[in-house]
């Protein structure tokens, strides 16, 4: 394992210290709780998110005016605990209530739920929106359901804009739940991530192999193949999304190409170019595009493709609105 770290046990704390130093104008650390807070309090509903660390810039990079009021950092790839989340809620609430944006993993769901219950006992209004955009996993009552992945940052951005407009907690909850239904993601991994504490890659994969549908913690995907061209990968991923969406030529769509950590921007743009071809072939309207490392998996090579079906142009505007956060360009 070659990493620029000091001690695998302290990576999260050192990262938070570096992060809060780098972005001292925008954020501050809630000492002892691994929470990154917006420096200037919001005068509207506070959006809070978080999860295991190792997905940087998610989630701390999206704290700031127009997006999150706080981000909670768990151990690497492990959900944060209810007390951390509770402190983030208490520090962020300005009387308008708090909306938790949670990725759908058993651990995250339970820890955020407990925090919600604890906060309600302290008379803070809390709602939560569960993001489960990863269509690589079957959604049925026989599984923990689909996972939350890169689409989560689109939820941060859109609801962030709505919150800034002064929408109520209930409105944000309703819109958030509806929004999540229209965001779907699917990825392809070329290499596995190495968790510092584990010291070796999370799964083995050949020098000429790739795997479709791998999760952002290295959860197994649905198909492993010899490495293909970007165009073929785009074809596969778009076809999966096409099944999941039943695309409609009268609707506008948005596309997020998300680098998983070790994949150069050059490849991400090439991949976008191929995704565009595929969507053009289906005569779809792409009204919004975003490319870059937003929800990573440490040093995993690969990309994910998120498509959002817009219901109104308001959503596009919400994505395009300028914000003041460390990592949203």
């Amino acid at each position: 394992m070659k990493k620029i770290i000091n001690d695998s046990g302290t990576v999260v704390d050192e990262m938070i210290d570096g992060f809060c130093f780098a972005h001292a104008n925008q954020v501050e650390k809630l000492t002892d709780f691994r929470v990154v807070l917006r420096k200037k309090k919001t005068d509207h509903v506070a959006l809070i998110s978080g999860g295991g660390s190792g997905h940087e810039p998610a989630h701390a990079g999206f704290v700031g005016d127009g997006m999150l009021a706080a981000a909670i950092c768990g151990e690497v790839f492990t959900s944060p605990t209810p007390d951390q989340i509770l402190e983030a809620i208490k520090a962020s609430d300005t009387g308008h209530g708090v909306l938790l944006i949670v990725k759908n993993y058993t651990g995250d769901v339970m820890n955020f739920d407990m925090a919600k219950e604890l906060a309600e006992m302290e008379d803070i209004k809390v709602e939560s929106v569960l993001v489960d955009d990863d269509i690589a996993v079957e959604d049925s009552t026989y599984t923990a359901g689909k996972r939350g992945v890169a689409g989560t940052v689109l939820v941060h951005k859109i609801l962030g804009a709505y919150a800034r407009q002064g929408k109520t907690l209930e409105e944000l909850k309703t819109r958030g739940d509806a929004l999540v239904e229209r965001i779907k993601t699917i990825g392809v991994a070329l290499t596995a991530a190495t968790v510092p504490e584990v010291g070796k890659p999370g799964f083995e994969i050949g020098n000429d192999e790739m795997e479709y549908g791998v999760g952002i913690h290295g959860e197994p995907g649905y198909k492993r193949e010899a490495i293909k061209t970007s165009a073929e990968m785009a074809k596969e991923l778009v076809s999966k999304l096409s099944e999941a969406f039943s695309f409609n030529q009268d609707q506008k769509y948005g596309v997020l190409i998300n680098g998983l950590g070790a994949t150069p921007l050059m490849e991400q743009y090439i991949f976008l170019n191929d995704v565009k071809q595929e969507l053009d072939n289906q005569a779809l309207t792409i009204a919004y595009t975003k490319v870059g490392n937003y929800m990573t998996s440490l040093d995993m090579a690969g990309v994910s493709l998120t498509v959002i079906a817009f219901e109104t142009d308001e959503e596009i505007d919400a994505l395009e609105e300028t914000v003041d956060t460390p990592s949203w360009t």
């Binding site: 605990t81 026989y142 599984t143 999370g202």
Partner: protein
């Protein structure tokens, strides 16, 4: 018979030792069908439990159990943190007044309420539920515990991270059921439960 603070402490410290001893084994089990961190999660948790319950001024069993619950909740994270935390919290509510069978039953309710898993979903519920039954019948034994543990192997996971594996989860022990088995073996070792 209800547990004293002293008995509760001894029980939890014994549990803690077993977790430390089997940390790597638990992580290995989790590597097979999860994300390989169950051992380090639990070990982080019980270390905090030890620190929280050594306080000799804790007089009631419920005080000890509540401290342990909070330690698990605030140090473990992941799926097992809230589950053990909820179990311990529900147990704390009744431990001063109820017999051990009712205490563990309360813990099981806590787990089921929090995690929404049922028997045969291949989770720690598949350890707690048979233990509750055995306690009610006054026949909890190491054999019964080992038996329950082994029965998680052929199951297909329907909850938690292992459920992403679908059929591929079959043929492996459930890590949370195994860590829970240590809790009940520790109980047997420290307390006369089948009285």
């Amino acid at each position: 018979m209800t547990l004293t603070a002293k008995q509760t402490r001894a029980w939890l410290l014994n549990f803690s030792n077993k977790i430390h001893d089997n940390k790597q084994y638990l992580s290995d089990l989790d590597q097979a069908i999860g994300d390989g961190d169950h051992g380090s999660n639990m070990s982080r948790g019980v270390t905090a439990v030890e620190a929280a319950i050594t306080d000799e001024s804790l007089e009631k069993a419920s005080d000890v159990m509540k401290k342990a619950a909070m330690a698990m909740v605030s140090k473990v994270g992941g799926a097992s943190g809230p589950l053990y935390g909820s179990a311990f919290l529900e147990m704390a509510k009744v431990i001063d007044n109820e017999a051990i069978a009712r205490v563990i039953a309360a813990g099981l309710d806590g787990i089921k309420k929090r995690g929404k898993a049922e028997v045969e979903d291949k989770t720690m519920v598949d350890m707690w539920a048979p233990v509750v039954d055995a306690l009610q019948d006054g026949r909890l034994s190491v054999e019964a515990i080992e038996e329950a543990k082994a029965q998680t192997k052929p199951l297909k996971a329907k909850k938690g991270r292992a459920s992403y594996l679908n059929e591929r989860s079959i043929g492996h022990l459930d890590p949370g059921a195994v860590s829970s088995s240590y809790l009940f073996i520790a109980l047997l070792e420290e307390v006369e439960v089948n009285d």
